[in-house]
Structures are given as structure tokens and as C-alpha cells.
């Protein structure tokens, strides 16, 4: 039971992220919420691939013994790069929105140009 702490961390990260997206009004905080959810999902993926007592799946200078699963690590790598790309685009939108409306509050943006 206590070994399942990673799963609880995943739940906590996703919930904090959801909270930030749904109930914060600052655009930057919404973006932070999205990255938190993303970290949660990445942690979940990585957690799935762990076998008890295993080493990294790399044969160079390997100490031997069982290796952890390589596919979740590859998926996480892909997902991290995608996260960076999305983050860059969202932040550039925010820069532009700030230029137009001089505010980051969701309630005050979206009016006439």
C-alpha cells in the first residue's frame, strides 16, 4: 500500500492542475495548471514502467539484473517535447494578449479590439 505513493502523487498533481485551470483567472496560472496536469500524466507513465529493483534499460556499463521497461520512458520523452512546444505557443499568445488588452485577467480580455 505505502509503495503506491507515486499514484497518489499523480492524483495530487492532476487535481492541483485542474483546480488552477478551472478556478484561477490569471492566464499564466492557467498555463501553469496545464503543465501541472502534464507532469502528473508523465509521472503516471514513468511509474508504470518501473519494476522492483530494476536498473535503467541501457547495456553500456550495466551492472546486470532486471531492467525497467523502456517504452514508457520513450513515451514520456515524446510527451515532454510536445509539452514544451505547446507551452511555447501558449506563452506567445499570452504575450500578444497582454499587448492588446494590457491585462492577464480572463474576465477583462476578449472585448473589442
Amino acid at each position: 500500500m505505502i509503495y503506491n505513493i507515486p499514484y497518489f502523487a499523480v492524483i495530487a498533481l492532476i487535481l492541483i492542475g485542474l483546480y488552477a485551470i478551472l478556478f484561477r483567472r490569471n492566464l499564466i496560472k492557467i498555463v501553469i495548471g496545464i503543465t501541472l496536469i502534464e507532469s502528473g500524466v508523465n509521472l503516471f507513465l514513468i511509474t508504470l514502467g518501473y519494476r522492483e529493483g530494476s536498473t535503467a534499460p541501457i547495456y553500456t556499463l550495466s551492472p546486470g539484473g532486471i531492467m525497467s521497461m523502456p517504452v514508457p520512458q520513450a513515451l514520456t520523452l515524446t510527451s515532454i517535447v510536445i509539452g514544451v512546444a505547446v507551452l511555447a505557443l501558449m506563452l506567445s499568445f499570452i504575450i500578444h494578449i497582454y499587448r492588446h488588452y494590457k491585462t492577464l485577467d480572463v474576465r477583462k480580455i476578449g472585448g473589442d479590439d
Binding site: 508504470l48 518501473y50 519494476r51 541501457i58 521497461m69 517504452v71 520513450a74 510536445i82 512546444a85 505557443l89
Partner: protein, 95 residues
């Protein structure tokens, strides 16, 4: 505490209770405990064959660039897309 924050907390509490409950009680049926994945044919196959089939010592790299290389093409494309998007958004508007 205003009404909105109260609603927020109530909503998140419900989800949290539901998820914690599901993690605690559903382990034996569906999800395996941390560190003991039981179904791992695919990953064991990769670990056993990475050196002979792809020639790479690094199992993760062999997945990223060989077994699931097409995903990596997509991933590189995502980055390319983001760069094109950012440059498009910050372009000069007048010729």
C-alpha cells in the same frame, strides 16, 4: 470564503475522494501495484532484442528511433510546428 471558491473546493474534493478510493480499492483487480507490472511481453521483447535488432546499447533510444521511430518523426514535427507558429505569431505585419 465566497460561493465560487466553495464550489471549487467541493468539486475537487469529490473528484479527489473518487480517485483516491479507486486507487486504494481497485488495485488487485486492474491496476498493478507500483513496481510489479505483470503484463510486460512487449517491453521484455524490446529489452531482449535491442542489441541484436537495432544495434543500440540504450534501450530507450532503440525504442525512440527504431521501434517507434515514426512517433519521433511526429515529435520532431511538433517542435517544428511550434517554431513555425511562434515565428508566425511574432511576424512583422507590414511588408
Amino acid at each position: 470564503m465566497n460561493k465560487r471558491d466553495f464550489l471549487a473546493l467541493a468539486f475537487l474534493t469529490v473528484i479527489a475522494v473518487f480517485l483516491v478510493f479507486s486507487v486504494v480499492f481497485m488495485f488487485d483487480e486492474d491496476l498493478h501495484p507500483f513496481g510489479e507490472p505483470t503484463e510486460n511481453d512487449m517491453d521484455q521483447y524490446i529489452i531482449d532484442n535491442t542489441q541484436t535488432e537495432t544495434g543500440a546499447d540504450n534501450g530507450v533510444t532503440s525504442v525512440v528511433f527504431d521501434y517507434r521511430g515514426f512517433d519521433t518523426l511526429g515529435e520532431a514535427t511538433v517542435l517544428f510546428t511550434a517554431v513555425a507558429g511562434v515565428i508566425l505569431v511574432f511576424r512583422r505585419l507590414k511588408k
